[in-house]
Amino acid sequence: MKTGKAWGPLHPETETTERLAKTGLPAKRQLELYHFMKLTRMVEGRLGNLYRQGKVVGGLYSSLGQEATAVGSAYALEAQDVMGPLIRNLGSMLVRGVQPREVMMQYMAKSDSPTGGKDGNTHFGDLKRGLVAPISMLGAVIPVMAGVALAGKMQGKDLVALTYIGDGGTSTGDFHEGLNLAAVLNVPFVLIAENNGWAYSTPTSRQMRVRNIATRAAAYGIPGEIVDGNDVLAVYEVTKKAVERARAGGGPTLIESKTFRMKGHAEHDDAGYVPKEQFEEWKQKDPIERFERHLLGNGLATQEDLQAVTARIDAQLNQEVDFALASPMPPAERAFEGVYA
């Protein structure tokens, strides 16, 4: 980006306005969105505590600042739809019914975790809840979810497959191959590219020369949308439109969500390479605080309502943490089981 500063405005196409996108969602459902965003942040807060206590045996990944993209997009899906969340989509998983204890036990490698200690973090799936587990190699989930969409079409299931990719992940071959295959087969597929400014320590300008990931949709002959990723209502609405289009036989959509990663790549990374000004700027655009101002300002909720949400989650998480801590470590012999189905 040619600006006077080393950083400059990250996403001028979606300069944040205080007013959020128009939505037809009633107050009750907007409060549900608020619940899931707040739940995401508070679960990650608890995970941070467990990490600092040495209870998390591997790395810890955060979606701080990106909760609106995960929650708003997942909220636009129907029960029969299938999703492939990535590491910064805890919010999507919570919307799909994942319980905080499952994620906590995953991070702590406990015997009762969804993978029984065989894998960590958010790397687990459950097709009964429409969740496909990702792998660490970015881009790989895209063709897999195109295949999920293809199967759904073959089986007449009326489902839509949705997954995510980061700005860095768009540089992979599977991004191209998968999106292109989905496009030529015209399968019901939605890809959300979360442009959060940084891929580990690499700025987006080192991943691509195009300013907007969404313009790449033209290369596949599919619609490309840009959305303010810190506006949960905007994310919900644009995803809803893409999902409905896909369900009606209109094929894939690429949605670029402009957002910002408020922490390092993982907990060990202090993100010293990110200019302080960027953090300060995006702190003002915090998706949860913006949504709170929207709910309060438009009379959709009172301060007491919001405090009640927080209190409820807090009480729930006390129990979830206790449950997760009580689970034993897996028995050693499990290491040798389950290679083959």
Partner: protein, 324 residues
Amino acid sequence: MATVTYLEAIRQALWDEMEQDPRVFMLGQDIGTYGGAFRVTAGFLDHFGPGRIVDTPISESAMIGAAIGAAMMGMLPVVEMQFIDFISCAFNQIINFAAPNHYRWGQQVPIVVRGPSGGNVHGSAYHSQNPESYFHHTPGLKIVAPGTVADAYGLLRSAIQDPNPVLYFEHKYLYRRLKDELPSGDGLVPIGQARLAREGRDLSVITYGAMLQVALEAAGRLEAEGIDLEVLDLRTIKPLDQEAILATVRKTSRVIVLTEEQTTGSVAGEVAARISQDAFEWLDGPVHRLCCPDTPVPYSPTLEEAYLPNVDKLAAKVRELASY
């Protein structure tokens, strides 16, 4: 009963599985109207329609990735690699997505990736490979490599019905050269079971794929010299049939592992290591790997002949080891 070629046996297995089970479908390049580069799927598009015979862009990674996704949703995809050499373009999807999926989170991935492997047809470096050793290392995969018409048929049907990712390496040299009767009944060949292709007393050749024919021809020639070869056709190269391997070693005490791979890091090396470790006291001589040299596959017939194992090279090695 009429005889069919090895290629026709593959086609018949695909046809029968697609007829029998609506979950089976195919992804591949040029498999529809064109019927595949080797015509394995000729006639399939007309019969099964474009909903089940899916022509794809030149995107091996996306083809196999899409198969993985469809398989998780309950379909039974069969992906054709136009030449098996191109499977390397989808390496990540196979070894990182498909293979560990069941171990990681309990979700099975019943895909089959099949395609023409092997040399001796002057295909040069990118249309002659035997890539099994790259995958042999990876937990969660199964690998089969038929060397007969009956196994070409039966192993493919078993592969499609298997709940795990199976790589099916068919040998293009055998496509139209090998003819035999198809078995009666469903013809299923269990994955994981070797077959004693020839009983003998003096020395065991453990092999698979097109090298099986080399071993059998050599056995006929050596019989006249008074050397009685036993030939074990592995058929499945992952998981290996450990018992069958040890049984033939205990019987003859002399072993050559004959495969069409470059020697270093080969499946043959793994077989030899298992014999050394688990049947050492039964051996009367070193376990020999007769494979290809550690070079890319060369193009010119004189070079390719120098590269590939053949009956003369095997017979010479047998004579040497028999008198060890």
